[in-house]
Symmetry: C2
Subunit: 210 residues, 2 copies
């Protein structure tokens, strides 16, 4: 791929090279020269496809954001009890993150130095709020515990999901995206313990049982 | 603090300035010049305290690692059922992370370019394995669900805990470290759902109850 000297790129394939370079060097640390070398085509050939690196960034993070917002339009995210919709969204977030791994990785690393980065951060916050609203609705239904603040729970769940980009490698150790999505859904909704008791609840239960 | 021109630094206070600069600029991107400017003392004054920036890095990540490994020596981490010890360790990890926030943040960002960084990564892996062993023991006791692979569960739980460095700010919004530790312990061990049922289990339970 990197030996292709002639410009056989489409906007799509150029984007996939650019995202790889952005993730390796950081967006700020990437120049058009770096992109040109990685793609094996001249800078002017790149300018034939896009106005500059910021356009590549915008396209790349849009792909991740479209994937994430697309989840919220899916039937199971819109119909049914809030807790079921939330569980569906959490599972699908993991699948989208893994399916669009380099794009979501880039999105999560955006820091906000350019207009495009600030726009991406804003859209990420919108998405977080949509999920937090679902969690709030599930708590109002009494289906989700009330003793963890919604904002904090949302952050912790997103923290767990987003951390997957740090270690997941496609094809590595044969861990399918469905397995990871199942594991996240189980941990987030049912927890690690086999006896689903609060700390201390076991003692009370035993006491009243005797 | 930054106006102090005379060298009133101790190794401890110099370390706290260095860690702040490392976290802002990245360790690789930090020069002795940057450290000298941030501390408001000359480079030779810094060399009076330490051999160079790698020694500052070693001291800083040692502080984080000592905090984490110290947990494993505490009584509640050593005595009792594995699942209780694990829950204690998870809770204490959150407390140490928040209590030593800049040091743990630096530790989590270490990438492995120098000998000190590789040593720190190695120690982090040791710690991860110790926690994974505890999870394995709890699963063997039947206290922790067997349908999420230990290695994956460890990664996800560490992912949730480590993500706290991305948003936690001391004194911000009045969220105490104990509140965050409680929330993590509740989510990790008992999950979000108030009815602790597997997806689909509710339908079975209702079916058999009628």
């Amino acid at each position: 791929m990197t030996t292709a000297k002639r410009d056989t790129y489409t906007p799509e394939t150029l984007l996939s090279v650019a995202v790889q370079v952005f993730n390796e060097r950081g967006y700020d640390g990437t120049s058009m020269e770096h992109l040109s070398r990685a793609a094996g085509i001249s800078k002017s050939s790149i300018y034939h496809h896009v106005a500059g690196k910021e356009e590549l960034l915008r396209r790349a993070v849009s792909r991740a954001l479209d994937g994430l917002f697309g989840i919220l339009e899916e039937e199971h995210a819109c119909v049914g009890r809030s807790v079921e919709r939330l569980e569906y969204v959490v599972r699908r977030m993991v699948e989208v993150l893994i399916g669009e791994l380099p794009y979501v990785t880039l999105l999560l690393r955006v820091r906000g130095n350019t207009g495009t980065e600030r726009w991406a951060l804003e859209r990420r916050r919108d998405f977080d709020h949509r999920v937090a609203d679902l969690l709030k609705a599930a708590a109002a239904d009494g289906d989700v515990r009330g003793d963890v603040e919604v904002r904090l729970a949302t952050r912790l769940v997103f923290g767990m999901i987003n951390s997957i980009v740090e270690w997941y490698r496609p094809g590595g150790r044969g861990m399918a995206e469905g397995d990871v999505a199942d594991a996240v859904a189980r941990l987030v909704f049912a927890g690690l313990r086999t006896e689903h008791q609060e700390p201390g609840a076991g003692i009370r239960a035993r006491g009243s049982g005797l």
